[in-house]
């Protein structure tokens, strides 16, 4: 006889059980807050898998570095020295400018810009499921990584940390469907929100009225108004604008500066954002008499 029906519950019953369980999971994950904690535990549980899965690539790139010719290494070294020289030249000026900026801020009586701490992390896995653009980083809570921490690379904003395990963490990229961040156009100061579309090289700038002054090639910088990303990091460049009067808003597309599809090393920034996360009390506090 068919063994499948002789053991345990019947197949349709098992399917029903699976459907009910997954519906429960979906609800738990999407509509309640308890899933964040659950996700960090799960991330921690599966992180060895990521280490194993990235082994072949690590071995391969290690081997190719091993066999790089001396000539190539010398050339690379020369090039790196040159960029270092150029950048340290710029840095000298930066130190001076920073000092000047602090003095001016003190003159204006505004609060001093808080120092930024950076931490380098390596990308263990870029998972490119079309419905979720996330990367797994090799730093976790033992390295001081916390949730919502912004992630950048050498060119621009990459994303933010969404779940943290002890030795690894997961970052949501700005190109993910569920991600949005507040930006400001560098040229005009227009504020906008940039949303991911699930495509690596395209973001959408939302809710810009038709009268907005925006051009192709405009640089969009993070504005810090979302309370997550610090101000002033490059996010994307406007690449396409379509003015369709039948639409309520302009349709503007931008290309991210960070190379999201091939990021390897990223910086985790930890600095208090420009706007504190909790909203200030609506009524002014009455000082103790």
């Amino acid at each position: 006889m068919n063994e499948i029906y002789s053991r345990g519950p019947s197949l349709p019953l098992r399917l029903l059980l699976a459907v009910v369980l997954s519906a429960g999971l979906m609800f738990l994950d999407r509509y309640t807050d308890s899933s964040t904690q659950l996700r960090s535990y799960l991330t921690a549980a599966v992180s060895p898998l990521f280490y194993v899965a990235s082994l072949p690539e690590a071995l391969f790139s290690g081997a190719s570095e091993q066999f790089m010719s001396q000539q190539a290494v010398l050339e690379e070294n020369a090039r790196l020295k040159e960029t270092l020289l150029q950048q340290s030249g710029k840095l000298q000026l930066l130190g001076f400018l920073q000092q000047e900026n602090e003095k001016l801020r003190a003159l204006l009586g505004s609060s001093a810009a808080l120092p930024v701490q950076r931490q380098v992390a390596e990308v263990l896995a870029v998972y490119s499921h079309p419905f979720s653009h996330q990367v797994v980083l090799n730093k976790g809570s033992t390295d001081g990584v916390s949730e919502h921490q912004p992630v950048i690379d050498d060119l621009g904003v990459v994303g933010q940390v969404v779940s943290v395990g002890p030795t690894s963490s997961r970052a949501l990229l700005i190109s993910d469907n569920t991600h949005a961040l507040a930006v400001r156009a560098e040229r005009t100061g227009v504020r906008a929100i940039v949303e991911g579309l699930g495509q690596w090289d395209l973001l959408r700038v939302m809710h810009l009225p038709h009268s907005t002054d925006i051009r192709e090639g405009d640089r969009l910088l993070s504005s810090g108004l979302d309370g997550r990303f610090p101000e002033g990091y490059p996010v994307a460049k406007v690449v396409r604008i379509s003015q369709d009067a039948s639409q309520p808003f302009m349709v503007v597309y931008a290309e991210p500066y960070a190379r999201l599809d091939r990021v390897r090393h990223v910086l985790l920034i930890s600095s208090p954002p420009a706007v504190p996360e909790q909203t200030p009390p609506t009524q002014p506090e009455v000082p103790d008499a």
Partner: protein, 160 residues
């Protein structure tokens, strides 16, 4: 009734499929990555439906959800539904030629992608793009080789 034998090897093959699911790859290859875990589960559901069926698929799908970062339960549900169809018709499917099998599995893989898109669309509002269907084609192309490989694996190790 036969005693379950060497079930560990089944789980080993599923584990390897999960590794392939998250292995770093160049961007172009990644979009067309076959759904390894689902293909391997399909083989086992067809060959040994009394060992691997809906609940194994559910748990594997759940691990895929965790690995990939989709909303928890989305892959679990889609895996369970597809494997249910395979387990229900395993006797018929075993009699098909490999080419017929891969055509039929292509339809099931498309169903999987559709379910996945549908659920994600309701939960997170993703947009559909035709590129999402590449894994269906690559899955169909990979199936004959995978079938041959897993059948040798099963027979050599006498997994029942």
């Amino acid at each position: 009734m036969r005693k379950p034998q060497r079930l560990g090897f089944i789980y080993l093959s599923i584990f390897v499929a999960l590794l392939l699911t998250v292995m770093p790859m160049p961007q172009m290859v990644k979009l067309a990555r076959p759904d390894w875990a689902l293909l391997v589960l399909m083989y086992w559901a067809m060959a040994l439906p009394q060992r691997v069926s809906v609940m194994t698929a559910f748990f594997t799908g759940f691990i895929v959800d965790v690995l990939v970062g989709t909303v928890l339960g989305v892959n679990a549900l889609a895996f369970a539904v597809v494997i249910f169809a395979v387990a229900q018709h395993h006797l018929k499917m075993r009699n098909f030629s490999v080419v017929q099998q891969s055509l039929l599995l292509g339809m099931l893989l498309a169903l999987y992608q559709l379910l996945l898109f549908w659920l994600s669309h309701f939960l997170t509002g993703v947009y559909f793009r035709p590129q999402y269907l590449w894994p269906v084609l690559t899955g169909m192309l990979v199936w004959p080789w995978l079938f041959w490989l897993l059948r040798r694996y099963r027979r050599q190790l006498k997994i029942q």
